[in-house]
């Protein structure tokens, strides 16, 4: 029992509510939310360290013992993601503040909504109760519904209708799936569910229910059912798109990892074959989509899809190396996708267009922007010593060990499509003759480039300093692969 683990959700949540009382003081809102996120990040770092010393932490709300009440569970996997999510959103917040003066002039509830979103994300990572997971998802989704419409441009409203439509359907499916599961297993506590699922084994009914969950989370994660994603991620303003690209699909991925390693790993048809096929098709679809468009925003959005497939390959293979690779890649992808969306958005803002054939020679006026973009390409392709490398290698190792050669091939081939699709942006937009004459370029404010610079440094740090994270990643993977490590401290301590 440790109260501290509720804070990564509660701090952003309460700050968000407090901010509503400072609506006309943008600067106060900005600083309060930044401080809240920084504290959240620091606390999650501390929690991560605490888990190393004391094992998995839990908090029973209202002291109701599991499995009867709701509880938060902080294991290394969840906490690493909370930490990364908090850091990345803090940096995106800085960008948003400086972008605000030109882009959408600080919509009124912007900071509150971002904090609500982060609260929902962190809550989803930390909860140990499957119905509470649904509720945390709702907090996150509602915030995202509003964020996507914020600013109210026509394109945004058009995409938001689809986004909300798909997500309402998937939330309904989620609810139905929980009802079926509760009807079958009689409990909602995830550890308790895990125990009961292990006892029951893969009955046909449980397999069918697990597929329902697979559909629900695949919709959220953009695994195969990703068709809603490119539109929704390319419509909102830069900072919001960056938050979406960095965080939202990751919550779905997290849920897939959690549910299919803890509850439904008994039927290999679902947890290996079906997941593997879906991951493979996602890699193919994402790769094809990434080279199909000439609009930066679309190219970038399809790159999100590729990464989803890549990470899920690890879950389908589920050897220790593959899972560790996936975790590393998940952390990397949060940072890299945040950066990629920030840079892509900045390019679009600077040039006023998303079409790559309409821009040229940007590097002459914005060298730092250009090189950061180059670095993020390398990192996404998995060039060492940047952050994508270690995850990719470990995943490859896992795939070879498991003899999953098709997945191995697709996963590594997809990185070539990542390279090609993003290199096209770099060659067309940054190189070539400049079309803007000297002194006429839109100046790029420091506040917009500093967050990107820090994110790029984080990618270097994560790559060169992969060793620092290794104990946490190893422990996270161990807990995922041994459900008893998760069940024990919750039900029997």
């Amino acid at each position: 029992m440790n109260n501290i683990i509720v804070l990564p959700m509660v701090i952003p949540l309460f700050t968000a509510i407090i901010l509503i009382f400072f609506l006309s003081y943008v600067r106060v809102q900005y600083w309060l939310s930044l401080v809240a996120l920084v504290i959240t990040a620091a606390l999650s770092g501390y929690i991560l360290e605490l888990i190393q010393r004391e094992g998995i932490l839990r908090l029973d709300f209202g002291q109701w013992p599991p499995p009867f009440g709701i509880l938060f569970v902080a294991d290394s996997f969840a906490t690493i993601l909370v930490l990364t999510a908090s850091i990345v959103s803090a940096l995106i917040l800085i960008y948003a503040y400086y972008a605000g003066q030109s882009e959408h002039d600080h919509p009124r509830f912007f900071y509150s909504l971002i904090l609500f979103l982060v609260a929902g994300v962190n809550g989803s990572f930390l909860t140990g109760d499957i119905f509470n997971l649904f509720v945390c998802f709702e907090v996150m989704l509602l915030a995202s519904y509003v964020l996507i419409t914020l600013g109210g441009r026509k394109r945004q409203l058009r995409e938001s209708v689809k986004y909300i439509g798909i997500n309402v359907l998937s939330s309904w499916l989620f609810l139905v799936a929980i009802a079926y599961l509760y009807g079958t297993a009689g409990t909602l506590n995830m550890a308790h569910l895990a125990e009961r699922m292990a006892e029951a084994g893969p009955t046909p009914l449980i397999t069918v229910i697990s597929i329902l969950f697979l559909i629900v989370f695949s919709l959220k994660a953009g695994l195969l059912l990703y068709f809603w994603l490119p539109g929704a991620y390319s419509a909102p303003p830069t900072a919001v798109a960056a938050l979406f690209g960095a965080l939202l699909t990751k919550v779905g991925i997290y849920a897939l990892f959690r549910i299919f390693s803890l509850l439904f790993y008994h039927d290999p048809f679902v947890s290996e074959t079906l997941l593997g096929i879906m991951a493979a098709l996602t890699l193919i679809g994402g790769s094809i989509g990434a080279v199909a468009y000439n609009d930066i925003r679309h190219i970038v959005a399809y790159n999100v899809v590729i990464a989803v497939g890549f990470i899920l390959v690890g879950l389908a293979i589920a050897t220790p190396a593959a899972i560790e690779g996936s975790i590393y890649y998940l952390i990397h992808d949060m940072i890299a996708k945040g950066l990629l969306f920030l840079l892509a958005g900045t390019i679009v803002t600077l040039t006023g267009t998303g079409k790559i054939e309409e821009m040229s020679g940007l590097i002459r006026h914005y060298p730092l922007l250009g090189w950061l973009f180059f670095i993020v390409i390398l990192s996404l392709v998995g060039i060492p010593p940047l952050s994508g490398f270690i995850g990719k290698v470990l995943l490859g190792q896992g795939a070879v060990q498991a003899e999953a050669y098709l997945l191995l091939g697709l996963a590594f081939l997809s990185s070539l499509f990542v390279l090609y699709s993003l290199l096209r942006i770099f060659l067309n937009c940054f190189w070539g003759e400049t079309t803007i004459s000297e002194g006429e370029e839109t100046p790029l404010r420091k506040g917009l480039i500093i967050p990107s610079f820090i994110l790029a440094m984080l990618m270097f740090g994560l790559g060169l300093g992969a060793e620092l994270l290794a104990p946490y990643v190893k422990e996270a993977a161990e807990t995922l692969l041994n459900p008893n490590l998760y069940i024990e401290p919750i039900l029997y301590q």
Binding site: L13, G62, W64, F68, R108, F109, F116, G123, C136, V139, L142, V146, T149, L150, G152, V161, K162, G165, I166, L169, G183, T184, A185, G186, H192, P204, I209, I211, L212, I215, L225, F227, W228, F269, I288, G289, V291, A292, Y293, I383, F389, K392, V393, L394, G396, Q397, V400, Y405, L408, F412, S415, L416, L419, Y420, L423, W431, G432, A466, E467, K474
Partner: protein
């Protein structure tokens, strides 16, 4: 031994300081500062020559990610030392040359940063012992090459050339990475030294029996072949000639393109002795040799000619390594030593090629810079104006053609000897195909002779055509001539004293490639220029005779019409990229329709196919209705009302009716709550129903007319089937869940709610106590929804305001 670590990191660190230096000393060509880097490195490495020649190997390890066994291990042995000396030695000359080649108006800071980046990366490739670290540096060299090719990035051709080289080399790199991972799975270590120790000491089953052996080999060779521009991946190298000439001389002839050669040599102890390895390495090498030399002859751009010539020479070295690998098949014994000579020749030619090709590139750079063109059709008669340049060109070309008294003659003869030995092999089906080796080698050498003559004679002899040049012909400045002169001197010196090189550098390298054979005392070679009138000499004479004939008598060149530019591999590559883009676009747009309706169809189809499929496959789920309470008449009638209302909704014509019918559903559910004795839920449901219906009605006034989109009957039928199947499936699962509860529910615990919470209402207790956290969050969800509605209204008001302003 940290020295070597520093040697790799030094150029990388120096790259960081370039911008500061260039700012500080704005009026000095920054190349002069950069020059110190390769000089220091070269001198450092030279000190190791004596001890390496004594057979010593230096190993040093710095942990990087020890948890996953990734260490920054350094290995300095004979093989890496040769490469290290070439990288730093040619590096000195190239930097010196570049100072005169690139004027101060160019983006020198960038140029030298990339160059230093490359130098560090390349040293890293040859000095690291750990496969993953080697891969890291491998990619560094690809990237710096990409950046250097696109140095003049405002030119379209530069960008395309850079893109092509990056795509091909990085693809190869990725394949190689997978190959390395497979090697790791086989050998359990990523340290080259340990793997080689493993395969050379272990008796009995070797890695060759492992199922991953062949895939790993193929993937790694893919990396080596793409990097070393082997057929058919060579297409990037001629395009890379868009880079400034010092870069072409350095990266694209002397060093980077030899990384693949290095890798093949380094891995020979692991894969050598295998038939597939032999055939791939020597076969691809020979094809590359022939195709490269054949294509080089048709080039009119001198740089392109040199590029194809480099491709061809790389093929030559590659094929020698392939033939040499046979030695490992025979194990210890005189026969194996015989074949190691091929490897020895490969190493020797590697050094020779670096010298004469470097000199030739620099010559072409001088011509290009001085006259404004490097098209042979516009050149001629330069000998009188540029005597020094001409001499260098002559030495370089004759060495390349394999003529004495230049080092190329020696290695060419050794090459002929090797292919003749290969012909005599009686393994790997060489009895049948062996004859191809000398035939291909000899034919390719004729073309090599022809293009070597083109370089010298068509450029420097013949008629001077000043009207077709941009500038008048004039000898290059002394500074620019120093580097090629040094190289040309080496070309001659190596002919006369080849055994100095052999003793101090080549033999230690041989011992690292053949650690098993090293103990035999057999790996001692002396290079002789004259070994009597034998087959190899006859082959050389034949080359000269036929070559001269072909050079003089040009009509045979009509043959090139059989290989039109349009169908060249290069164009095929470009065209397939184009097709991939077009195809992807078509495919993606076909299913990404942008209609929510289609996306719903996808979701439900997926649901039906996967869940329904599983349902059928796993056998229908058990449904028992026995323990259910009996269904009363009023319940049936309620259900019928609901069904009727639901069915009617799609057919009604006005919004109001639809909303009201929707309301019927809601109220019917409330009735069910009443029947099942949940009055508080019924109450909640009623309130929700009323509020939503009222809200809907309020909004009506503002909504546009309800227009139904006409859909073809087929779509309607399909939609009906999908909807029906989905509904049936959900119902079946629900029934099955109802009858298949596997465990006792936790709910009895909550029945003691009075005791536990002091609140006797179980629903209240759950909402406000047991699951109060959920309730709080749901309140927040409502708050956010409220904010959303509020902001949307605001947007509308704002837009209206703006619209009014505009009017």
């Amino acid at each position: 031994m940290l020295t070597i670590h520093l040697a790799i990191i030094f150029p990388l660190l120096a790259a960081l300081f370039v911008p500061f230096i260039s700012k500080k000393f704005a009026n000095i060509h920054i190349g002069w500062f950069i020059l110190s880097v390769p000089i220091i490195l070269f001198l450092t490495l030279v000190q190791f020559i004596p001890s390496i020649a004594m057979g010593e190997t230096y190993i040093y390890s710095v942990p990087w990610i020890p948890t996953y066994g990734i260490h920054f291990n350094i290995m300095l042995d004979g093989l890496s030392l040769i490469f290290g000396l070439i990288i730093t030695g040619i590096g000195i000359l190239v930097v010196l040359y570049s100072i005169y080649y690139l004027s101060r108006e160019e983006a020198l800071t960038h140029f030298y940063i990339y160059l230093l980046l490359f130098m560090g990366g390349m040293l890293g490739v040859v000095f690291t012992d750990h496969l993953l670290v080697l891969y890291a540096f491998w990619e560094v060299t690809s990237l710096s090459s990409f950046l250097l090719i696109a140095f003049w990035y405002h030119r379209k051709m530069s960008r395309l050339g850079a893109q092509k080289s990056l795509l091909i080399t990085v693809s190869g790199g990725v394949a190689m990475l997978v190959g390395f991972i497979m090697v790791y799975i086989m050998a359990g270590t990523m340290s080259l030294r340990e793997i080689i120790a493993l395969v050379s000491t272990e008796p009995g089953p070797s890695l060759a029996d492992h199922p991953l052996f062949v895939p790993a080999m193929l993937l790694i060779l893919l990396g080596a072949f793409t990097k070393s521009a082997q057929f058919p991946f060579h297409i990037w190298l001629p395009r890379a000639m868009e880079a400034p000439t010092p870069v072409s001389a350095y990266l694209h002839s002397a060093t980077m393109v030899k990384a693949g050669i290095y890798l093949v040599a380094r891995l020979t102890p692991i894969f050598g002795g295998d038939g597939l390895w032999f055939w791939l390495v020597s076969g691809v090498g020979l094809i590359t040799l022939l195709w490269g030399s054949f294509t080089a002859v048709r080039q009119t751009d001198l740089k392109a000619l040199l590029a194809y010539s480099t491709v061809s020479q790389l093929g030559l070295i590659m094929s020698l390594l392939g033939i040499g690998s046979v030695a490992l098949y025979f194990g210890q014994g005189p026969q194996s030593v015989l074949y190691t000579q091929a490897t020895f020749a490969a190493l020797f030619h590697l050094v020779n090629h670096a010298t004469f090709k470097g000199a030739l590139f620099m010559v072409v750079g001088i011509v290009d810079l001085g006259l404004g063109t490097r098209d042979v059709r516009r050149l001629g008669g330069l000998m009188a104006f540029m005597p020094v340049t001409f001499t260098i060109a002559l030495i370089g070309s004759f060495s390349m053609a394999g003529l004495p008294p230049f080092n190329g003659f020696l290695s060419k003869e050794m090459f002929f000897a090797a292919v003749l030995e290969a012909k005599a092999l009686s393994i790997f089906s060489m009895e049948t195909w062996g004859i191809l080796f000398p035939v291909l080698a000899w034919t390719a050498s004729i073309f090599t002779f022809v293009y070597s003559m083109i370089i010298v004679f068509r450029t420097f002899l013949g008629k001077y055509k000043p009207e077709r040049l941009e500038h008048e012909a004039r000898e290059a400045p002394v500074g620019m001539l120093i580097s090629p002169l040094v190289l040309a001197t080496l070309v001659v010196a190596l002919f006369f004293f080849p055994n100095v090189l052999s003793q101090y550098l080549l033999q230690p390298a041989m011992e690292t490639i053949f650690p098993v054979l090293a103990t035999e005392n057999g790996l001692i070679y002396t290079i002789k220029a004259w070994h009597g009138i034998d087959a190899t000499l006859m082959m050389t004479i034949g080359v000269v005779l036929v070559g001269t004939l072909l050079y003089k008598w040009r009509t045979w060149q009509g043959v090139y019409r059989l290989f039109p530019e349009r169908f060249s591999l290069d164009r095929v590559f470009d065209h397939s990229l184009f097709l991939i883009e077009k195809g992807s676009s078509k495919l993606t747009r076909a299913y990404m329709t942008g209609f929510l309706r289609d996306y719903y169809v996808y979701i439900f189809l997926f649901f039906i196919v996967v869940v329904g499929g599983t349902y059928l496959w796993k056998g229908p789920l058990p449904i028992t209705l026995l323990q259910d309470s009996s269904v009363e008449v009023y319940e049936v009638s309620l259900v019928l009302v609901m069904v009727a209302a639901a069915l009617a909704i799609p057919f009604v014509q006005s919004r109001i009716t639809a909303i009201l019918l929707n309301g019927v559903l809601g109220f019917a559910i409330a009735f069910f709550f009443v029947i099942f004795r949940a009055p508080d839920l019924a109450l909640t449901q009623l309130v929700v129903e009323m509020v939503t219906t009222v809200l809907f009605l309020l909004c009506f006034y503002y909504l546009p007319e309800w227009k139904k989109e006409p859909a073809p009957t087929r779509t309607k039928v399909i939609n009906l089937i999908i909807a029906g199947l989905a509904g049936v499936l959900f119902t079946l699962i629900a029934l099955s869940v109802n009858s298949g509860a596997l465990f006792e529910s936790i709910s009895p615990y909550f029945e003691k709610t009075g005791e536990l919470t002091g609140n006797n209402n179980i629903v209240n207790a759950i909402l406000a106590d047991f699951r109060a956290f959920d309730t709080m969050l749901e309140v927040i969800v409502l708050l956010i929804a409220g904010i959303g509605v509020y902001t949307l209204i605001k947007v509308r008001a704002q837009q209206k305001g703006e619209a009014d302003l505009e009017n």
